[in-house]
């Protein structure tokens, strides 16, 4: 074991070595399989780092441009072998024959390509048709759901659904979530991640806060990964509240917050 090289392994995994140092490490890894195991474990940790950066939805144009480039590459690749097989020197008497054969081959290849493309297009049309049917079904289901909701809430005026970001307090800064709500309705969907699972006999309780007054909006259960979903309900419209909070309470809940406030975000 070479202590000097072993010290470089974490920096190798982080790609923080010069080219010469990388060569040294790679030579060492070839000769020491046990070090290879170490480096793989470190590289696994390093490969998680990108998830620490917030993901960003790309522009649809990026995907279109990429796939167009790929399609062009596929077409170019499929035509390359013909050029490569072209003979360098031909006698005059064979030129016509070769030309005729070439034309015939090109025609056959072209026909095969066209046939393949036609088949692909048929498949795409079939797929698109299925997708349209599926979307139409989804739309129909959504419309039915909307009709049912409208029937139950005839007094509600049309308004926009809003997504409100929620953030953990210093008690649990890793907690994050979203409240999806129509401000005029009396219910909303709360999705939360990153909460610490609680010991037995304790629960999270959600509060809608109007001025200084917190109103219980339900008990929130989280799984072992700290994720939870709750349909928050209230007697008043969600939009009339100033903030949402989540506190730690006894498992039966409390009439007022008594424990640590782990999430607190303004709603307006």
């Amino acid at each position: 074991m070479d202590q000097r090289i072993e010290e470089l392994l974490p920096l190798y995994a982080l790609d923080a070595l010069t080219d010469e140092e990388k060569d040294l490490v790679e030579t060492y890894l070839r000769e020491h399989p046990e070090a290879r195991q170490q480096i793989e474990e470190m590289e696994n940790a390093v490969s998680a780092l990108p998830y620490g950066v917030p993901p960003v939805e790309p522009s649809p144009r990026s995907k279109e441009a990429l796939m167009a480039r790929v399609a062009a590459d596929q077409r170019a690749t499929s035509s390359t072998p013909k050029q490569a097989s072209r003979p360098r020197v031909m006698r005059l008497g064979n030129i016509f024959q070769a030309f005729s054969m070439g034309v015939a081959i090109v025609a056959i290849v072209w026909a095969v390509i066209l046939n393949t493309q036609l088949s692909q297009l048929r498949n795409e049309v079939s797929t698109l048709r299925n997708a349209i049917v599926a979307q139409a079904n989804s739309l129909e289901q959504i419309n039915q759901s909307v009709d049912q909701i409208n029937a139950k809430l005839p007094q509600a005026t049309p308004s926009a659904v809003m997504t409100i970001s929620l953030q953990g307090t210093d008690v649990q800064p890793q907690a994050q979530g979203q409240l999806i709500a129509d401000p005029n309705s009396q219910s909303a969907v709360l999705v939360i991640v990153g909460l610490t699972p609680l010991e037995a006999g304790r629960t999270y309780q959600v509060w809608l806060i109007q001025g200084d007054v917190p109103v219980s909006a339900g008990l929130l259960k989280v799984d072992v990964n700290g994720q939870g979903v709750l349909v928050v309900t209230s007697e008043a419209a969600i939009g009339s509240f100033d903030a949402l909070g989540i506190s730690v309470e006894p498992e039966e809940g409390s009439p007022q917050p008594t424990g640590d406030i782990v999430v607190l975000s303004a709603l307006q």
């Binding site: 920096l11 993901p55 796939m67 997504t163 903030a243 406030i261």
Partner: protein
């Protein structure tokens, strides 16, 4: 306004509130299970190596937002980051045959391509080295929330992974986290890190080793699936 809660002894979260119109597209966007979407990264990579563009498209849908996140944070320019995103998957298309699953995960291989391209792009655009002040906690590349424009289903998954990694990183001492950020997101060598921090090379080695060890333990404990 929040007097009652404040008086309870807990610190108030100063984070602002972001509200936005929720596009109806999230309702209409169908994710009905196509078989190809269930395939593992490694199987899809093998299909890409055979020239199947649909496999590339699936991998793109799976990882584009993370790749763009890395690129944007390294370069700091949206257009250049989108170029890196395209180039990353173009490299996957052209060199998927060189990917060896026994050497590591596909995601790790992909992210390495993206990171290297982004760092190269950053260096081409910025001749001077980045000032060290950029690497302190006030400009951390690891503590922001995901793009709210992502669709809800994928956002939940991304948010979960994001939180797991942030939680793991939060367990590291600041100096160890700083070494990781400088090396991974700023492409600095160990000598450059030592120079920038004023620490001995041996200290940088120790911090890097302890940081990766702790990070791995925390992610394993949290059953992180990258």
């Amino acid at each position: 306004m929040l007097k009652l809660l404040k008086s309870n002894g807990s610190k108030q979260n100063a984070t602002g509130v972001s509200m936005r119109m929720n596009s109806e597209s999230s309702l209409l966007h169908s994710h009905d299970g196509m078989a190809v979407e269930q395939l593992s990264d490694e199987v899809l990579a093998a299909q890409v190596a055979r020239g199947e563009s649909s496999a590339l498209e699936t991998l793109y849908d799976r990882y584009a937002s993370t790749v763009l996140g890395i690129s944007l944070k390294i370069i700091g320019d949206r257009a250049a980051a989108e170029d890196v995103l395209q180039e990353t998957f173009w490299r996957v298309w052209r060199s998927a045959a060189t990917y060896q699953s026994q050497r590591g995960s596909f995601a790790g291989w992909l992210f390495k391509i993206a990171r290297n391209l982004a760092i190269d792009a950053y260096r081409r655009r910025n001749i001077r080295p980045r000032p060290i002040a950029d690497v302190d906690d006030n400009d951390s590349k690891l503590d922001q929330t995901p793009d709210p424009n992502m669709d809800v289903a994928r956002q939940s998954q991304e948010l979960l992974k994001h939180n797991q990694v942030l939680s793991a990183l939060a367990t590291l001492p600041r100096v160890q986290r700083q070494v990781i950020e400088m090396a991974y997101f700023y492409g600095m060598t160990r000598q450059e890190i030592a120079e920038a921090t004023g620490e001995a090379l041996g200290t940088i080695h120790t911090r890097a080793r302890l940081a990766l060890q702790k990070l791995r333990e925390e992610l394993e404990r949290d059953k992180f699936e990258g």
